[in-house]
Symmetry: C2
Subunit: 205 residues, 2 copies
């Protein structure tokens, strides 16, 4: 068996296989790139029908990146999956507050989760315009609550919490928000999905 070793050649061949399966998707080329990268990272074609991209999401995301926005993630695993060199080339940084000692301390004092507290922390910096939440429904719920209270004003939310308790509900609520978002219907999602969506945007620039 011949093993293809060149990472670019592997990715090109993979994307060609995926392209055949999603050729009939009715969306823009940019939106299709997002769907393809998620399928590339999961080998799960269900995402073809589950990913929902609001009309203005790609443009809003690209504009935010161009202006040097940071990207906030809910967990460190998602942060590790995003191309930080590419983000840095636009002037932005990856931010994740979940493991900060002071976030843990304040969360305990207030009786909320660290995920929630890390969203409150992130909302304070106006350079944090893109939020990627791949795991914790409580983080996504908290961010939407902050927005409704006028305490957060992100330009794009990539919200793909995964799981059986609260994930689906948090994403259904995100779909009702009047702001740019990219999400996944149902229970599926996770760090790999959120990272792929974010990287797809980064690679468009």
């Amino acid at each position: 068996m011949e093993i293809i070793q060149n990472p670019e050649a592997i990715e090109d061949k993979s994307m060609n296989i995926i392209e055949e399966e999603v050729a009939d998707l009715e969306c823009s080329d940019q939106e299709k790139k997002i769907v393809k990268r998620v399928i590339h990272a999961t080998a799960d074609f269900d995402f073809k029908d589950l990913i929902i991209i609001s009309e203005d999401a790609v443009e809003a995301g690209l504009q935010a990146l161009e202006s040097g926005s940071n990207i906030v993630t809910d967990v460190n695993m998602l942060r590790a999956g995003i191309n930080d060199r590419k983000l840095g080339s636009f002037g932005g940084e990856l931010k994740c507050f979940i493991s900060n000692d002071d976030v843990a301390k304040e969360a305990k004092e207030k009786g909320i989760t660290r995920s929630m507290m890390s969203m409150r922390r992130a909302a304070k910096n106006p350079d944090n315009k893109i939020f990627a939440i791949g795991n914790a429904p409580t983080a996504l719920f908290e961010l939407m609550k902050l927005i409704k209270a006028g305490k957060a004003d992100p330009e794009l939310i990539i919200g793909t919490p995964v799981g059986f308790v609260g994930a689906k509900e948090s994403k259904a609520e995100l779909e009702k928000m009047d702001l740019p978002f990219i999400t996944v219907r149902g229970r599926k999602g996770g760090s790999s999905v959120a990272a792929s969506i974010t990287n797809a945007l980064l690679y468009m620039k």
Copy 2:
């Protein structure tokens, strides 16, 4: 809508939902814990029938952990998904060499991928007894080649590369190896899957 905020309560409720769906699985309780944690992280019940655990894998993994083994990962995203505090309590460390400058340099000199070079580097330390490879088929192929050449001797391989080029083939070859392994048949896999399997083992201790 009531939002469950307590992370432990969310996990317990999730695991109860998953338990109902996998109740008929014919395997040990420990093996079932691995399957459930993967489904918990992906919300994808396909994994119920795709995860293959060699007869001796759980015991070998637990023994390696107990002896203070490090865990080597192919990519940083997977490293970030494994509970390092728990691993540290047994005396082990997480190791990932893919981003090391000298690994990149040596890979270039030898004309191989950084993934492959990082496996060669990892194989040199006998305390690296557990390998978790969630993404790069070339890393898994290289590790198996090192084993066959007598240059690596891991006690457990968690091998779940994902994708369309080489992933399925690398895992099929892993199933033929005469050593403890945990894998996923077909194209699916990835960092979230490999992290869940590894954490399931860590949480058994």
